[in-house]
Symmetry: C2
Subunit: 282 residues, 2 copies
């Protein structure tokens, strides 16, 4: 029987910190969300950010982008945002329908306002273990959950399944920074079971519902499930078979209520840190 | 008894390609080496690059930098180099005595001329698996040796020991790009022996002479030794105990005559590719 690593107390601690720290400093940090179109998952994430922003004292504004915006319009918009002193952080809801605009925004956003770590500067910073750049929030959410529950990855064998720029690679870089021994697995990995069974911590970011069952896991392990998959009945389930894993491992994050519930709070934390000019541990 | 993966034929194939390709295109590619001071290892590397440049038809020029150069002087120099159409590639001999100048050069060098992959853009490119940026030459040398000897890392378990930006991390990114399952180990890794013994390929970049002995290795493995250590008798030896490893594994690179002999040829290859505007496989 595992311990359920709920994201809620991790998130609440972060939100409380933001509110107190922001008040203490007497600042009013602002986050701008850039959205193109009306995708349900974008609207859901946006809604949760706005609600959390209210709790944490961060002003969240949404800017709707024209799907036909030109490259020049995108660059002008970002230049305006970079110069706007009331905006401390920017979130792009990706992928955007207009790829060229998305690229222009990503490449031109000021690294200091890149609170989700998507610009080349932030990527190079994370890769280079330079803690003055923001990491992607989902990757940091995994790290904050481990830290909150006193499950330090230092010296541990961590297996990361997935090599995306949103989660697999950034969380691997963050784990390395914390002195974990990191194995990055992916769709071309053979003998995955043998590899996961030898890990102390398994971070799963495959993007396929319940891809990891009990046969991949061992007693004593910690499992962080980053997957969010929607079933036909509109139920959210992870990349890990929770029931099976729960009966085997020592610690596991649920879906929903795990990693996903911490991500948005880190976006707001980064926004406050950008406003205060302090990046790094909160 | 292992097969000795000599770097010489890998290097010679690359140099031949550069010479032919350059002649065919009728271009005269130029590399500029930036050196500060007279460190013996810098002078040795510079000398080998100049000699290889002559063989490959690449013009190599050395620019000596003043140890007391200001940040502004460094930036002006790089701006001049970025605009100089006869310079297609730049190599910084690092570490430099003047850290501020080194930083200014690294941050301002045009990514297209960054033939050793040290700028933030090139690092972000490699991290993001964007093959239009040059990787660090030592990391690519490991990959070219594997490729030359038909030891594809695809689907293989590769253990990289070392997490530096010069070799450990970039070679890990290149291996991931080639669909290897990559484990990054370092000084804080526990049970290193157990981890290396389970690998198909072990890439060693620790920087400590003969740190990896036979007890870390198994039959069937390929060992790439990136270490170059100088003994009291001025002999070069690797991070792997070559004699012990040779009697156990299937394939191993020698030191000297392995990875180190391929590195400079890739610098020249990148230089030609920069000149031709073609980056990627040669």
């Amino acid at each position: 029987m595992a311990m359920r690593l709920s994201g809620a107390p991790v998130r609440d601690k972060i939100l409380k910190y933001i509110l107190l720290k922001g008040r203490e400093a007497g600042v009013n940090a602002g986050l701008t969300v850039l959205r193109m179109g009306e995708k349900p998952e974008d609207l859901a994430y946006e809604k949760s950010i706005i609600a959390m922003g209210e709790k944490a004292g961060i002003t969240v504004k949404v800017k709707l982008l024209d799907e036909n915006m030109t490259d020049k319009k995108a660059k002008d918009l970002i230049s305006e945002i970079n110069n706007d002193k009331s905006i401390h952080g920017v979130l792009l809801l990706r992928p955007m329908a207009n790829k060229e605009a998305e690229k222009a925004i990503t490449e031109n956003l000021a690294p200091s306002k890149d609170v989700d770590g998507i610009t080349p500067s932030c990527m190079a910073g994370l890769y280079g273990a330079d803690k003055t750049y923001f990491p992607p929030c989902t990757a940091r959410a995994c790290m904050e959950i481990l830290s909150f529950y006193n499950l330090s990855p230092k010296g541990k064998r961590v297996v990361v399944i997935g090599r995306s720029l949103v989660i697999g690679k950034p969380v691997s870089m963050m784990l390395l920074r914390e002195d974990a021994t990191v194995t990055i697995c992916h769709s071309k990995t053979s003998n995955l079971k043998e590899i996961t069974k030898n890990a102390d911590i398994v971070i799963v970011a495959i993007g396929r519902r319940e891809a990891i069952g009990g046969e991949f896991l061992e007693k004593g392990q910690t499992v962080i499930d980053v997957g969010i998959n929607v079933t036909e009945e509109n139920k959210l389930i992870g990349d890990v078979n929770y029931e099976e894993a729960f009966s085997i491992v020592d610690n596991i994050t649920p879906v929903p209520g795990g990693v996903g519930s911490v991500t948005a709070s880190l976006l707001l934390l980064h926004c406050l840190q950008s406003c205060l000019g302090i990046i790094d541990k909160y």
